[in-house]
């Protein structure tokens, strides 16, 4: 009986230790759910690669980068200290549903499908993989200005990133 008890206590100890280790040690980053939509980080293009593809700032305009994550980079276009627009490039690998809106697209910028979302946002899908978005802020931009901005991104460079991922 004493032997059975010893085995029982030993087993209990092992089980509670492994449960404790699982709960308290920093294993969490290995568990699923850490990344966006559970897509592994290696399958998403890093935001650093997008930065140099943003439009060159023209007279009086200033481009301030605000966010850079895996698969995403965002900047603000400012004119005289006022925010004119949010500019962003994202990898749709983590958001496949974002692709579907381009199916009905009629217009093109440099051959890539263009979609309007509401009164202030224009989106462009490059190489069926990268979404460029321009969202007017404050007083807003008219559609021509937004399309002009979309065309000033380095679209060839962006399309070339597709193979790199």
């Amino acid at each position: 009986m004493a032997r059975l008890l010893r085995w029982g206590v030993g087993l209990l100890l092992v089980v509670s230790l492994s449960i404790g280790a699982f709960l308290f040690l920093p294993f969490r980053s290995w568990l699923p759910g850490g990344t966006v939509a559970d897509v592994p980080l290696s399958q998403v293009v890093n935001g650093t690669a997008f930065n140099r593809l943003f439009p060159e700032s023209q007279d009086g305009d200033q481009l301030v980068f605000t966010q850079e994550k895996r698969g995403f980079s965002e900047a603000r276009l400012k004119h005289d200290g006022q925010v004119m627009a949010l500019l962003a490039i994202s990898d749709v690998a983590t958001a496949p549903e974002a692709r579907s809106k381009f199916d009905a697209s009629q217009s093109r910028v440099q051959g890539w499908p263009l979609v309007e979302q509401g009164a202030q946002a224009s989106a462009l899908l490059v190489a069926d993989r990268f979404q460029i978005k321009v969202i007017g802020q404050g007083e807003g931009l008219d559609p021509e200005q937004r399309h002009d901005l979309l065309g000033r991104f380095d679209l060839k460079g962006l399309a070339a990133l597709q193979g790199a991922a």
């Binding site: 969490r28 980053s29 759910g33 850490g34 990344t35 966006v36 939509a37 980080l41 935001g47 650093t48 930065n51 140099r52 301030v64 980068f65 605000t66 966010q67 850079e68 994550k69 895996r70 995403f72 980079s73 965002e74 900047a75 603000r76 949010l86 962003a88 994202s90 749709v92 983590t94 958001a95 974002a98 979302q117 509401g118 009164a119 202030q120 946002a121 979404q131 978005k133 969202i135 007017g136 802020q137 807003g140």
Partner: protein
Amino acid sequence: MSSVLERLDRLPRRNLTVLAIKGLSTLVPGGWHNITRADDLIADVLGSSDPELIRQVRSRADVLSRARHEGYGRALSLYDAVNRSQKAAGGLRLLANIGGALPLVKRVADLTPTSETLQAADLSLKVAAEMLAFTQVNGLPGDSFGDFAAALGEYAGEARVRMAALICFDALLPLGDQALQRLDGLLGGVGKQDLHQLPAYAGMARLLPGRGDGAHLTFLRRSLEPWLDWAGGFISQLGLTGQKAVQALEGTLGPWQGSFQQMATFLDAFTDTYQHTGVQAVARRLVERAAAEI
């Protein structure tokens, strides 16, 4: 754990915290708008109130804030840790203030850390939390250090009222108008024991770079340096003083007859300004990303 936008929806529309920030925001040009509805925030960023678009942005934002690697949730837990610490320290000091008059609890008064050194350490923890939260939310934007500094300036500019609250409530009121100039000297006197007296330190220690209290202290001092430069400019630009802060607060909170230190203690114990504006700042950045990704 609730998502960032759920936290935003639960923020109070009108309470002591909101009134305190409202009062202080009269000192800052541009003012402050208390956004506590996620749908309003999304419509503001997107420039459209189409319910279908708002729903898409919202569900994308929830996916992003659930992903631990993206850091939005982590930034909020930083703000929570700092807020808990502020409340605990504020409560203790309040007790000391009241207790000073009663013989029975006088001993508590002797035990409480009222020293300015601790106040300085608390401020440096908050600034470090701000830096860490910035990198959690925004990553390291841009390709060069110049880009990064510009991004930091942009973030601070957007959160002007938030920074003004930090400067007034945690530096000018408790430490006096020469707070920034004195801070370096005060921080020099912070020892490892002092650090452990701050409840927030326990929560933040594993997020601070470096091993051990010594390395953490160095990090706190180093992260304070660029902030001090920026805050100094901010103070002189707006002409902030403890006196002006109290006057602005009296506009919404009612007349105040105690000292500046007591005001700081009162605000520490009863308001959540840092957490309140923190949730709003993180939510805005999250929505800006979600709007770009739908």
